[in-house]
């Protein structure tokens, strides 16, 4: 059938209204979480590489670490997981989401602006939760035995790390062209992985590099987690302050410079 009669009369009679806010939040963050876990490159970045490093660095003695080695390794790997998801993965996804017009698409629905941001945040936290559980279970199999206090402290640091890296990820993904975001985000990830205090602890890095890395979100997060989980000497307060400072700077710059399309 052709003509408007292929649509029953009354099919499109207006019945406007906004959907329920919790359902919108769940739907948006659910889709973004699914996309993150379905994308092969993202999973490589967020899960496979951290798992390989956790197992490899625990079992193979390439870096000097106090026993039990897993305590020091898992701290760095948690920091890597946060950086991979909140910064690199998010910047790349945001860059391509902008390219494909999804931000404008969703802004044109009844989804309020704040919920658009909250949905992205929830998806990042959901991915990090999956990472922490997977890495925690594997760590436990390798002999990691944290107490409740250590876990609580680590979770606070992980959340602070998400905030600091998340703001910077939005800033990167929201200001440059998608292909450039892809390249820059991966290069930064690699540099910080090796020289930013993530796999190689600050005291094993060259002094000049370590001095800089201590004030980077990667170094602050990884060092904080080592202090919390492996009893490494150092100032937890400094880690927290550095992460809070990056959060403030990242969020302020993102709010000022991010373009939604």
């Amino acid at each position: 059938m052709t003509g408007p009669l292929r649509f029953e009369p009354g099919t499109f009679t207006a019945r406007p209204g906004r959907g329920s806010l919790p359902r919108m939040l769940a739907a948006q963050s659910g889709v973004e979480l699914k996309l993150a876990l379905r994308n092969g490159e993202q999973v490589l970045l967020t899960l496979l590489i951290p798992v390989v490093l956790l197992v490899g660095l625990t079992l193979v003695h390439v870096i000097d670490l106090p026993e039990p080695r897993v305590d020091g390794v898992i701290a760095g790997v948690f920091a890597l997981a946060v950086m991979s998801t909140a910064f690199t993965g998010q910047a790349i996804a945001f860059g391509f989401d902008r390219r494909y017009g999804v931000i404008r698409r969703l802004a044109a629905t009844a989804l309020p602006r704040w919920l658009l941001v909250a949905g992205r945040l929830a998806a990042v936290l959901g991915t990090v939760a999956v990472q922490v559980v997977v890495l925690g279970v594997i760590g436990a199999l390798l002999g990691w035995r944290p107490d409740a206090g250590e876990i609580g402290l680590a979770l606070v640091l992980v959340l602070l790390g998400c905030a600091a890296f998340g703001g910077l990820g939005l800033l990167l993904g929201g200001t440059l062209r998608a292909e450039i975001v892809l390249a820059v985000a991966n290069v930064i990830w690699f540099v910080l992985l090796l020289g930013g205090g993530i796999v190689v602890p600050l005291d094993s890095l060259p002094t000049a590099v370590a001095a800089v890395a201590a004030y980077l979100p990667s170094g602050a997060l990884a060092e904080g987690l080592r202090i919390a989980l492996a009893g490494t000497a150092g100032s937890l307060t400094q880690s927290v302050l550095v992460l809070v400072a990056w959060t403030v700077v990242g969020a302020a710059l993102a709010a000022r410079f991010v373009r939604l399309h």
Partner: protein, 318 residues
């Protein structure tokens, strides 16, 4: 025209969109320069214009995505820049080029947009009726341009809005899909929904629109119903072929005042004016007097495309 607070004018009361004196500047460029338009409830308005005429900017201001520099805009009785959230739950938007997560499946995207509405249409039905069933699980970036457009259209209507904005809705579609979209727009109007669409396709505007507004360089250069625009000035014409070099003065004498006859190329003639039976008879008698047979006779009504090209020029724009 002004909009006294608390007492909307009668025009605003039954109009879904009312725009008066809209101006938008980007730096030194004036993209929209004093546009007026009205979209009554249950009607379709087509905004026609060349690339860069200010169509998309006008639509985006109505949707609340951009702020006007001057002029009055009322959409469903609201100021779109002041109350975007209140407005967006009542309108449907098909942005130019669509929009979705690159990796999202077509049906997932439509479900997400449907969740934002209180009483959405059935997603499965809409997927089927728009011919997206075979690609419902295909990631957005792997859909064809026409499929992306149909998904964008589905996203625009799924929330059962009062007013729908369609920015070049049939760009990149094959003729079957275009026909389907036209049927859908007809059905929207029939069911009382107002539609503001932009298009390059004259055929589309002629087929769908109750009113056409032609814009160029940010200004309205013509507006009216398609019939009003194409009938303007009785600009019909008759074209035919015959022996070269016939005496046009005799023809001019035989035709009523106001008609114009010319030999546009060797042996090709055109007579401009209202072509009725007496005029046609006068032309063929003149040919007979000259011992010639009028061949390949065509009576052309001016199409909307002729009107458009007359108004906006025939030169190619970069």
């Amino acid at each position: 025209m002004s909009f006294p607070a608390g007492a909307p004018s009668s025009a605003a009361a039954d109009a879904a969109v009312t725009v008066r004196g809209l101006v938008k500047r980007y730096g030194p460029t004036t993209a929209v320069d004093g546009v007026d338009l009205d979209v009554p409830v249950a009607s379709v308005l087509a905004l026609l214009g060349p690339n860069g005429a200010g169509k998309t900017t006008t639509v985006e201001i109505c949707e609340g995505f951009r702020r006007a520099d001057a002029g009055e805009v009322r959409v469903l009785g609201l100021d779109p820049a002041g109350a975007p959230d209140a407005l967006r739950s009542r309108i449907g938007v098909m942005p130019q080029g669509g929009g979705a997560y690159p990796g999202v499946r077509a049906e997932e995207m439509l479900r997400l947009v449907a969740t934002c509405a209180a009483h959405p249409l059935d997603v499965g039905w809409l997927i089927d009726v728009l011919g997206l069933g075979s690609c419902a699980r295909t990631p957005y970036k792997r859909l064809s341009g026409g499929q992306q457009q149909r998904l964008a259209l589905a996203c625009a209507v799924v929330g059962r809005p009062e007013l729908v904005f369609l920015d070049e809705p049939t760009a990149g579609m094959d003729p079957q899909a275009r026909r389907l979209v036209w049927d859908l727009v007809e059905a929207l109007r029939r069911d009382g929904v107002a539609v503001l669409l932009t298009t390059h396709l004259m055929e589309e505007a002629e087929a769908l629109a109750d009113d056409v507004v032609i814009v160029d360089h940010g200004r309205v250069v013509a507006h009216g119903t398609p019939a009003e625009l194409t009938a303007a000035g009785d600009r019909q014409e008759l074209r035919f072929r015959a022996r070269a070099g016939m005496d046009l003065d005799e023809l001019a004498a035989a035709l009523p005042a106001g008609y114009h006859a010319a030999e546009t190329a060797t042996g090709r003639y055109v007579v401009q004016g209202r072509i009725d039976p007496p005029v046609l008879s006068a032309i063929t008698s003149w040919c007979a007097d000259q011992g010639a047979l009028a061949d390949d006779v065509q009576i052309a009504r001016r199409s909307l495309e002729d009107v458009f090209l007359d108004l906006t020029g025939r030169e190619l724009r970069s």
